[in-house]
Amino acid sequence: MNVFVSNDLWLIPLIPFVVGFAIGLFGRYVQQFWSGFAACLAMLASLVYSIKAVFLLASTPADVVHVKQHVWTWMTSGGLTIDFSLVVDQLTAVMILIVTGVGFLIHYYSLGYMEHDHDSPRFFCQLNLFAGFMLLLVMASNLLVMFVGWEGVGACSYLLIGFYFKESEKAAAGQKAFLVNRIGDVFFVLGVLLLLYGLAQAGLAPTLEFAQIKAGAGALEDQRLALSWGTAAGAGSPLVEPTSVGLVTMVCLLLFVGATGKSAQIPLFVWLPDAMAGPTPVSALIHAATMVTAGVYMVCRLHFLFVMSPTAMAVIAWVGALTALMAGVIGLAQRDIKRVLAYSTISQLGYMFLAAGVGAFAAAIFHLLTHAFFKALLFLGAGSVIHGLKGEQDIFKMGGLRTKLPVTHLTFVVGALAIAGVPPLAGFFSKDLILYHAYSSRLGSPGLYLIALITAVLTAFYMFRMVTLVFWGESRVDRAVKKHIHESPPSMTITLMFLAVLSAMAGFLNLPKILKGSEWFDTVLHPVFARVHVLGAPDHRLEGVLMLVSILVAVIGVTMTTLFYLSPRKDEALEELEVTWVYRAIYRKFAIDELYALIVVCPLSAFSRFLKDAFDGALIDRTLVNGPPRLLKIAGRFLSEFQSGDVQRYLLLLTLGMAAIVVYLIKTL
């Protein structure tokens, strides 16, 4: 196992970091334009260094596993040494190109979008830090450094989602994202700690380095984790059945819960739809290039652990599939343009986890790549629409924008076709690959395939419902807004066009063999995922059949939806539909937020209120803190009655005492 050493890797996350901090510190003293400019330049520099690193990786001999830079030794504790070191292997290469590439485009787009915002230095500062943390996350050579990036991304997302913090609703959205992510993070840490425990149990040197864990992973396979309380007491008792689970399964499940937090899967997906409270470029950055992909990346990065546990893999696949289905269904009925996109992101992330869960890690990463392109495109396109309509986000108040926003329209349709899976756009190839593996993998099943296929129909439906309502048909825009509709500035449209090209072409990176392609992307990632043996043998006939089904489904979905929403009778049909309880349930997002509020937030706040009132208020404040003084006060008020200042009353008492003494003395006489 050879490692190639480079000294430039640290610059990739460092540049956005330093520039971000500099903008944060000094941005307000220079003209607004310069902070955005510096931020873009930083991302560009980072992109250039990323490309350089990728070329370096490509030029190394075949037996080199990754390019590595050891920055410094972070900590040594017992046998555990944690280096602050960065690596670039094929998986990281894909990720850093996505983060810096799409990140740069979003930064460039933001120049136009944030033009009129006085707070733009703060925005660009946080945006750069966000990108920097994400780069740290994907380049980390061990779990702890990854966790730094993981937490940093969470913190920056909190800042950016709550960017308009003066509106309490948006600040609350930021907090929600932060708190939900914290839940996931706790499980992530637990997973890491359990992994260390497992390594010690297996007699291996403690380490958090991915490469070393991978090398020693085999020894972990047989480790069990006893699941009984008080093992010493329960061991001899016949009543207590010694239960245990595979240690790897437990580690993987804990890590996966962490991933569901970051990547918005069931049950921790609730923060993502609210995350659109931030400026649209932030949504694009969170949904496309950074943050939500962290969970998928982490699962793929640790695939050697996950494949050892069929249970964990099944959980991942089913959670992914169900999330995809559920989010797709909710997406059908949303009226807010960004909310539809948010649910589509959750749905597409579900696809990625489905792919990872059936062992098709390369397919997951490939979908991550194509999704980064078309989701960035769609979000930025939505941003362009919102920008043009002065903040209108309800798709039922749009329509007929095709002529008013020609560039946005064209690029948006490309993105929608891509996500809907219409060939030959990027989404088709990546999604088809996932569908194929969901069916054919040894871990896959027809059930998973069916769910994924239904989700594909749903995807086509909600995307073209949106496209039709926004761009086609007659205009339903408010008259006041109508006069001011305008195409966005060049910095935005150029970005859209660029992303549209990427969304259209990215699929050809991984052209399947049955279409005379070379499956180049799979080949590139092969060194990373080489050990995975769960995928079925290539079956070209099955692949062809499934591909035809996919195309059929996508095309039918797109056509039917478009025809329905363009037909003049759609309003009556919609009205009929909207009164059904199914529609309302979907529109209300199955009341999941309310459910969480009921089972988590309410008890918690009730308990907090109880503690505040009964414990802190009554016990601490009133009894322990104010009790003694109050007691003293009452006693004092009572005793001060004796201190009347009336000399004769004192004399009376004095005489009483004297009389008592005299009587006593007479009695003893």
Partner: protein, 102 residues
Amino acid sequence: MTDTLAQGYLSLSAILFTIGTIGVLARRNVLVVLMSVELILNAANLAFVGFGRLRGGPEAAAIVLFVIVVAAIEAAVGLAIVVALFRGRGTTRLDEINLLRG
């Protein structure tokens, strides 16, 4: 044999002391209170004279002399305080002088 006269002196002393006590405790006028104190002191003097009859000798008379001196001093200082108080507070009523009320 009992000395009826000595017994009478002691009893009268007790009665005078009691009347003085009532005056000190019940009257609100500080001057009357001071006069009552004089009564109490005289009750003590009468008791000393009574004891002198019982024990004999001029010892008791000497003590009475000292008591009279102290009583005169007490009256002088007490009345000076009353005058100062009246200047400051405008009253000689004890229930209106309660500066030390808690």
